[in-house]
């Protein structure tokens, strides 16, 4: 199979992101200029998001064995490119004061987005691994980006080393699992493992398949920071510069989840009782561990890291439900929650990176004391994001959680739902704690008084805020869209 002109057309979003990197690199080669690198990257990501949106209606085609370009993948291409663009905009003021080469950051961000776009369009082990590792490789660099800066008091080096070592180990596990699946099925594309285990003469046995799937589960579980593979998350989140944390926490998770979803659906792995039990345990463990760890946490980045562990656990419930429930409600719930999670996390980290910059990060919850009295608008946006993460009605987080809950009910997963309810209860405590802290009187010698906000960064969090409310109050069109695209999984 070779690539035809029509394929090129379908690959346009991917080509545009890649092209962005190339153009940015060339521009940097000609003349180092931070602003132009940023503008090129932002424009390129915007263009590819638009291109993906334009392609979306009616597209459903496999392009080479590696990539599936259908409405689902294009939807997430739009989402990831737009998110990457938001992160790029938020990064600009953050890195402005960095006394180091700042331009490469945008190259890394662009390449990471290439990886993300490949991931969301992948239904093949080769593209899954390549996309994943392309993104991870860029993230190693982004996480450690401020390593040279004297003023950066954080621990980017520690974070990057931890991330690299553990992530590479997890990749090894994941790859080994894939090799075993390949040994079983004889194809690298995601394909059903069910038909084989019954009749095929070349069958390597049920135990073999379960072992392979569990290794893949462990590998993916690490990348999604699901318990018990979650332990790296807070350290890496805390040590990284905020925009890198944002990337890791949003696009990194979402793209990985799309792969997990496609793999689970294609391989019918949930039909194996062992996998189902293990995934259920992982979901419960993630929800409880994430929420309990966040309970007394005083560092905002760590708190959000723990809370993201819990959120990943919530989504896993819907993946499990997709096996039990009739129709595609589980997949729809996953899709909606991923979108909701993306909006909330981008917004939260966005506000955090707006009050910080590369020379000083304000990542203690105490730093937000009195934010309401200093910057009411920003504090209001931050509050909305927190409430949404907690799942309060009229925010997108509520609808997402309700969707998950409904999927769980359809699948009759009562134990998992109980865990979700308990987890949400604990979650409310620490999210509200942050809000209360913002309402406290501002300390005299306030840690931060940055009044000059970049208009563009402000626009980004405002857009996210509006999305949060609109999708919380009137989610019907998006739900319809998600119902339509979920048919492609």
């Amino acid at each position: 199979m070779t690539i035809t002109a029509a394929d090129i057309y379908l690959l346009l979003p991917l080509l545009l992101v890649t092209g962005t990197v190339v153009v940015a690199m060339t521009a940097i080669g000609i003349k180092r200029d931070y602003t132009s690198a940023a503008i090129i990257t932002i424009t390129g990501l915007l263009l590819s998001a638009i291109a993906a949106a334009v392609l979306m209606p009616g597209t459903n085609q496999q392009v080479t064995p590696l990539l599936i370009i259908d409405q689902y993948s294009l939807f997430f291409t739009v989402v990831t490119c737009a998110s990457a663009m938001f992160i790029a905009i938020l990064s600009y003021p953050y890195l402005l004061a960095l006394d180091d080469n700042r331009e490469e950051y945008y190259l890394l961000l662009g390449v990471a987005s290439v990886g993300a776009v490949v991931m969301v369009s992948s239904n093949h082990f080769v593209s899954a691994i390549l996309g994943l590792e392309t993104m991870s490789m860029s993230l190693y660099g982004m996480v450690a980006y401020t390593v040279h800066s004297k003023s950066a008091a954080q621990h980017p080096l520690e974070a990057s080393v931890k991330y690299l070592v553990l992530s590479a180990a997890a990749s090894g596990i994941l790859l080994f699992g894939m090799a075993l699946v390949y040994a079983q099925t004889g194809t690298l594309a995601f394909s059903s493992l069910i038909d084989l285990s019954d009749s095929s003469p070349g069958d390597l046995g049920n135990g073999f398949t379960v072992l392979a799937l569990l290794m893949i589960t462990a590998g993916i579980g690490f990348k999604l920071s699901l318990a018990p593979f979650h332990i790296w998350t807070p350290d890496v989140y805390e040590g990284s510069p905020l925009p890198a944390t944002t990337y890791l926490a949003t696009i990194g998770k979402v793209a990985m989840f799309v792969i997990l979803l496609r793999f689970m659906e294609a391989s019918e792995a949930l039909a194996f009782e062992g996998i189902l039990t293990v995934l259920s345990l992982i979901a419960v463990a993630s929800i409880l561990a994430g929420n309990l760890l966040a309970l007394m946490q005083e560092n905002l980045k760590r708190l959000l890291a723990y809370s993201s562990i819990a959120h990943m656990g919530y989504i896993l419930i819907a993946i499990i439900a997709s096996y039990y429930a009739e129709g595609r409600i589980g997949i729809e719930a996953v899709t909606f929650y991923l979108l909701a999670y993306l909006i909330m996390s981008l917004g939260t980290f966005g506000v955090a990176s707006m009050v910080s910059d590369s020379s000083k990060e304000y990542d203690s919850v105490d730093d937000y004391k009195g934010l309401f009295w200093r910057q009411p608008v920003l504090a209001a946006i931050f509050t909305a994001m927190m409430l949404s993460l907690a799942g309060i009605p009229l925010t997108v987080g509520f609808i997402g959680k309700f969707y998950l809950f409904f999927a769980g009910v359809e699948g009759a997963l009562w134990m998992l739902l109980a865990a979700m309810v308990i987890g949400s209860g604990i979650g409310l405590y620490y999210y509200l704690r942050v809000i209360y802290r913002m309402l406290e009187p501002a300390p005299e010698s306030g840690a931060f008084n940055r009044s000059e906000q970049t208009a563009s960064a402000f626009a980004v969090v405002s857009v996210l805020f509006v999305l949060l409310l609109v999708l919380g109050v009137y989610p019907a069109p998006v739900i319809d869209l998600i119902e339509a695209i979920s048919a492609y999984i």
Binding site: I3, T64, V114, V126, S127, M137, V147, H148, G202
Partner: protein, 160 residues
């Protein structure tokens, strides 16, 4: 040929074991090269000459040379040996040993139930290249992007 497979396999296992217990880093590296070469032989026996060649050239030839380069640059020669020795007590091996033993036990448990022979057919450069420049051409391009990411990251991190 069959004997060669088991022989090379044994060498690979032994030299890899030597890598993880070595205190002299340069020796460890040499053991690792030996292990990789042995794996390359295994590849060859399994009918994958192209992979074998690349294993030898890229892994043993390039990646490990990179290691050696960094070791020399950091001057991690003899003087770190004592330090390594103090770090590497038998106690350190207990927990990891149990973990790995359990995992390996699982592997053996599952795989020993398989009883299938594979016929070795030679899949040479031609076939692999046909794939690489056919259906997997995007993978090649993506690999280049992956290397670019590694390059930019490494450049940024390693510079003064």
């Amino acid at each position: 040929m069959i004997t060669l497979f088991y022989l090379a396999g044994a060498i690979a296992v032994i030299s890899t074991a030597a890598v993880i217990v070595q205190t002299n880093i340069v020796h460890a590296l040499l053991y690792l090269i030996l292990s990789l070469l042995a794996v390359a032989v295994v590849f060859y026996v399994l009918g994958a000459p192209f992979a074998a060649a690349l294993e030898a050239i890229v892994y043993a030839g390039a990646i490990l040379v990179l290691f050696l380069f960094v070791i020399m640059m950091l001057n991690l020669g003899q003087h770190t040996r004592d330090q390594e020795r103090s770090w590497l007590s038998a106690r350190m091996f207990v927990a990891p040993g149990i973990m790995s033993a359990l995992l390996l036990g699982q592997f053996l448990n599952v795989m020993s139930q398989i009883d299938q022979d594979m016929t070795i057919t030679r899949v040479g450069v031609m076939e692999v290249s046909a794939l690489l420049f056919g259906p997997y051409v995007l993978a090649v391009e993506l690999a280049s992007i992956l290397l670019l990411a590694g390059l930019v990251s490494a450049y940024h991190l390693a510079k003064k």
